[in-house]
């Protein structure tokens, strides 16, 4: 794809003025890093980082039947989400394969915002629209162009945000969202993120994005806030053991294969897309455990990458889904699906085939990193 065809966020000129290295991410021209991605990673772990995530796909579902539609279309029990709260969930195919992982925010009594990955936003929009056919009192609206999304992540983020808003941030729990005003700009303030740190995501109108970015930058100056690109977002989520669609999650896997069967709520009322296949997948997972998503920590310095084979005793026993040098651990880390026999933390003799040489790796439980609360 040539760069002229890439979509640009409302903050494009801001990123270029900051000297960002840009990258094509799901058809969007996004900041990969501004300076050192390791420094940006460390800033989020220890201070604060500011992200442009406007590539994420927002879809609004409204109407008296909005909850019913989402309960039918998604695997989670969206009907049980209270106004002002959010839920991590998935949308599956009829055969149980994962189409995307999502966060659903309940904005009002009969108003929900579904946030999809940029790479899947069209697929999710199409699926929701198609699945809405039997729900006359629910409307699915493409709101991808209605929002810019900024995230402030890291231990200093509550203080930085508090200096710009009267909203009750102390009362705003993890996976909750409330409408408010930040730096004079109307925003949906959500306590969510993808970094393993405390933090906020701010959904605003695109025309307010630059103003809000500048206000956050200024408010964060004293606290050491830095602009952060997608490169460090990937290492942050990897350390936090969070799956990424296209890596840990694909249409070839059901939530049960990904170790995330808990997001499937069979007990909810009514049918939902994938119920029959997922019931079978849950039974298979119980009787014949599939490969397990584990963490791997390198003993050496060579970095495992997605697609590399995991080996033990001369046999291929799994495959790496994501790998990177971990700034926090100071060692290469990876997530990998491995045969259950080799999945227990501390399993001996596991390695990764790194371009022909078998490098030793320690099997660990996920996540690699958990913040102190």
């Amino acid at each position: 794809m040539s760069s002229t065809e890439l979509r640009r966020t409302a903050l494009d000129a801001t990123h270029r003025a900051l000297g960002a290295t840009m990258t094509d991410f799901a058809g969007w021209d996004m900041p990969l890093r501004y300076g050192s991605e390791r420094d940006e990673h460390v800033a989020v772990r220890t201070r604060a980082g500011l992200f442009d995530l406007s590539h994420m796909g927002e879809i609004t579902v409204t109407g008296p039947q909005a909850a019913d539609l989402l309960n039918f279309a998604l695997v989670g029990n969206i009907g049980s989400v209270k106004p002002g709260r959010a839920r991590y969930t998935m949308i599956c195919r009829e055969d149980g394969g994962i189409l995307d992982d999502l966060i659903v925010y309940r904005l009002g009594e009969a108003e929900y915002m579904v946030v999809a990955n940029a790479s899947n936003a069209q697929v999710v929009l199409d699926a929701l629209t198609e699945r809405a056919a039997g729900f006359d009192d629910a409307e699915v609206r493409d709101d991808r162009d209605a929002y810019a999304l900024l995230a402030v992540q890291g231990p200093e983020s509550p203080g930085i945000l508090a200096s710009l808003t009267d909203a009750d941030l102390d009362g705003l729990k993890y996976y909750a969202g409330l409408p408010g005003t930040v730096a004079g700009v109307p925003a949906l303030i959500a306590r969510t993120g993808y970094t393993g740190e405390d933090g906020f995501e701010l959904f605003v109108k695109p025309e307010h994005a630059v103003e809000l970015w500048q206000a956050l930058t200024k408010a964060g100056e004293g606290a050491g806030l830095v602009p952060c690109g997608l490169s460090c977002r990937d290492t942050l989520r990897l350390e936090a053991g969070m799956p990424l669609y296209g890596h840990e999650l694909t249409t070839a896997l059901t939530p049960f294969d990904a170790g995330l069967g808990r997001v499937v709520k069979f007990e909810k009322e009514g049918d939902f897309v994938g119920r029959a296949a997922l019931t079978g997948a849950a039974e298979r997972a119980a009787s014949e455990p599939p490969r397990v998503l584990v963490g791997l920590v390198a003993e050496g310095r060579r970095v495992p990458r997605a697609g590399y084979q995991v080996v033990a005793g001369g046999e291929v026993i799994g495959e790496v889904t994501s790998g990177a040098p971990s700034p926090t651990l100071g060692k290469p880390i990876a997530m990998a699906y491995v045969d259950p026999a080799h999945a227990a933390p501390g399993t001996e003799g596991v390695g990764v085939d790194i371009r022909g040489s078998h490098e030793p790796y320690e099997v660990v439980a996920l996540p690699f990193y958990k913040r102190r609360k």
Binding site: T21, S36, E37, R301, R302, V303, R305, P332
Partner: protein, 125 residues
């Protein structure tokens, strides 16, 4: 970013110094270092190895990817930079100085190495 005038450059983004005590120093350019991002692992040839112009002789691993290291000339490796093996971030912080990679006694060099100005134009394109 300015590429030192006294060096020559390959299209694979290595730089090469004039010989000093019979050996030339090789590193990667600032342009290449910036494109890689933070370098976290460097695998270099060993002292005594023969390297061939345009062929891989090591690898550079960054947060996002792994890249082959190409030798800009043919010859014998006389010294490798242990500092950069221990602290690969030198490739990013001082690509033309402390981040040098190895020294080579040249037996043959390709005719198409670039001057600083030619390399600057090459990377601007």
């Amino acid at each position: 970013m300015s590429n030192p005038q006294q060096l020559r450059y390959s299209k694979e983004h290595e730089w090469l110094s004039d010989a000093e005590d019979g050996a030339s120093t090789v590193g990667i350019t600032e342009h290449a270092a910036n494109a890689l991002g933070d370098v976290v692992f460097v695998q270099l040839p060993e002292v005594g190895d023969s390297v061939t112009a345009g062929e891989t002789c090591g690898e550079l691993e960054s947060t996002k990817s792994v890249s082959d290291l190409y030798s800009p000339v043919s010859g014998e490796v006389t010294e490798v930079n242990e500092d950069v093996v221990n602290d690969p971030s030198l490739v990013n912080s001082a690509p033309f100085e402390g981040g040098w990679l190895f020294k080579v006694r040249i037996t043959d060099e390709p005719a198409d190495l670039l001057s600083a100005d030619e390399y600057t134009a090459f990377t601007a394109g």
